[in-house]
């Protein structure tokens, strides 16, 4: 009895906590008042356009007061958007495909960033040590490759590189390792190959590592890597806000894409990447529209690799 009471008390506290915690995901637009919009982002190169757009006033022009919340990864952003703490979030496409397969009420509203589409000149790549016997992605059979998150966009893309090079993607082993730890792991031989994005690409190039594939390029032409998304609830309740956000976002993407120097400058304000590295990094592409064929391709690859049980319903995934 005593224990039941305690459990009941605990549950009550939790439920009350939950009630206080869940904000209204769609604060109705008050005339004359700017909409307070929180966007969950990751402090990486990819989100430079939204920072630049905020600085340029593309959002305030549209009566949006933007707050950018830095999270450590999509894993923290997806639930925060689903529960309404953030109105929008930034996440890679595979995470969103997985979220949809788990029936999370989320929809892609705007493009995030794309691969440069140029083999050997992308903002991410598959690297081996300079003296490694591995020459192409085909040689990765039976080897260990580091990926920042397992069962996500990185291993799917690396498998695409292996497939393209004529190897057996199923025989590649993956080890989960955050990007910042991968250069050291490659150097000490804990893994045979790593897949890193900027600025770690510059770090491993400086270490003398050899790039064997641009996996995002191998996955699909001009692959859309990540997108901005919202909850279906917000889209249903405040379509005008979503429309204005998407317009501002498209303007920001176009501006960042055509002003790479300003994009580099803004990256220095929200990351700690050293200035000399920022000057060297390869920037992603920032087209205004999502490359739907590439999302379709990722969905097919995810089914083939066993991440998804059936192809994603793209019409339901896009707003």
């Amino acid at each position: 009895m005593r224990r039941n009471l305690a459990a009941l008390l605990f549950a009550t506290v939790m439920v009350t906590g939950a009630a206080c915690g869940s904000n209204d995901p769609a604060p109705p637009s008050t005339p004359g008042q700017p909409d307070q919009v929180k966007v969950g982002v990751i402090p990486i190169l990819d989100v430079a356009p939204i920072y630049l757009g905020k600085q340029k006033g593309f959002f305030s022009n549209r009566n949006i007061e933007l707050t950018l919340e830095q999270a450590q990864g999509g894993a923290a952003i997806v639930p925060a958007v689903a529960s309404g703490q953030y109105q929008f979030g930034f996440s890679n496409v595979v995470s969103l495909l997985l979220a949809q397969s788990r029936n999370l009420p989320l929809k892609i509203v705007c493009n995030g960033n794309n691969s440069t589409g140029e083999d050997g000149k992308d903002f991410a790549g598959l690297f081996v040590k300079a003296d490694s016997p591995i020459q192409t992605a085909k040689d990765l059979a039976g080897k260990k490759v580091a990926a920042n998150t397992l069962k996500n966009i990185v291993d799917t893309s690396v498998r695409a590189s292996v497939r393209k090079a004529g190897g057996d993607p199923a025989s590649v082993q993956f080890a989960e390792l955050p990007f910042p730890q991968q250069p050291a792991a490659l150097e000490s031989g804990q893994v045979d190959a790593i897949f890193v994005v900027e600025p770690f690409q510059q770090q491993v190039v400086a270490q003398g590592a050899r790039k064997i594939a641009s996996s995002y390029v191998d996955t699909a032409p001009n692959l859309t890597v990540a997108t901005y998304f919202a909850s279906t609830q917000l889209i249903g309740q405040n379509p005008d806000l979503v429309k204005r956000f998407v317009e501002a976002m498209k303007e920001s993407l176009a501006y960042a894409d055509s002003h790479p120097d300003e994009a580099r400058q803004i990256i220095g304000t929200y990351t700690q990447i050293p200035a000399d590295v920022i000057a060297k990094v390869t920037l992603p592409k920032w087209p205004a529209e999502v490359n739907r064929e590439s999302v379709q391709k990722l969905s097919e690859l995810a089914v083939g690799d066993g991440l998804l049980s059936k192809p994603a319903d793209l019409n339901a995934l896009f707003q």
Binding site: R2, A6, I44, P180, A184
Partner: protein
Amino acid sequence: MRFLLGLIGLIGFGALLELVPATGLIPDRYLPPTSRILATAADEVADARFWNALLDTLITWGLGLGIAVAGGVAVGVLIGSVPLLRAATASTIEFLRPIPSVALIPLAVLLYGSTITSTLILVVYASFWQVLVQVLHGVADVDPVARDTAAVYRLGRWATVRYLIWPTTLPYAVTGFRLAASVALILAITGELIIGSPGLGKEIAVAQESGAVPQMYALVVVTGLIGVAANLLTRTAERRVLAWHPSVRGEVPA
């Protein structure tokens, strides 16, 4: 003398870390020499962003510690003074107390996102038990003779707490406070690091994500300094608050 020895020890440790990368044992791009870490720390100090982060961490820490101490003392005195309550809550406390605060991160993020509130939940949860358990022990330690005497003198409920329970409990509560202070700091930094709520922990994570290794170490050194400062502060507070207590007075009790 002790201070001097401590200083020498610290300088020796710094010198060792300066030498390790020079020997090539660990490449200096993963462990920069002490001199570069300190130079980077000096740069950081000139940055407003650093001070904002430091302030955020101190607020999270202070607020969390304050809530935990106030809650722990109030609940502890209440539960400890009522035998029935104590018996009824003992097993629940023993169940909840060992739950590692970091295990609550997913719950906190789900409820409050990457805000200071999420981190506060962790901080309060971890440090509350430190205080509560100490206070419970303190209340249980009241001398039965003194208790009977208070009863004979018909001290009221408030007077009993003020003149009988509190003086016995205070040294325990202060110990709880000291333990809670360091636990709260650990959890504040952990929360910022993992949840991404504003503060030094988040800056460490951003530095790491940016491949800015010296900045990362510089911030780690700063969190260490906060820990030292917090310890000095709580020790001083302990001596002040317990100036009358035999354990601090250092005289042979009568």
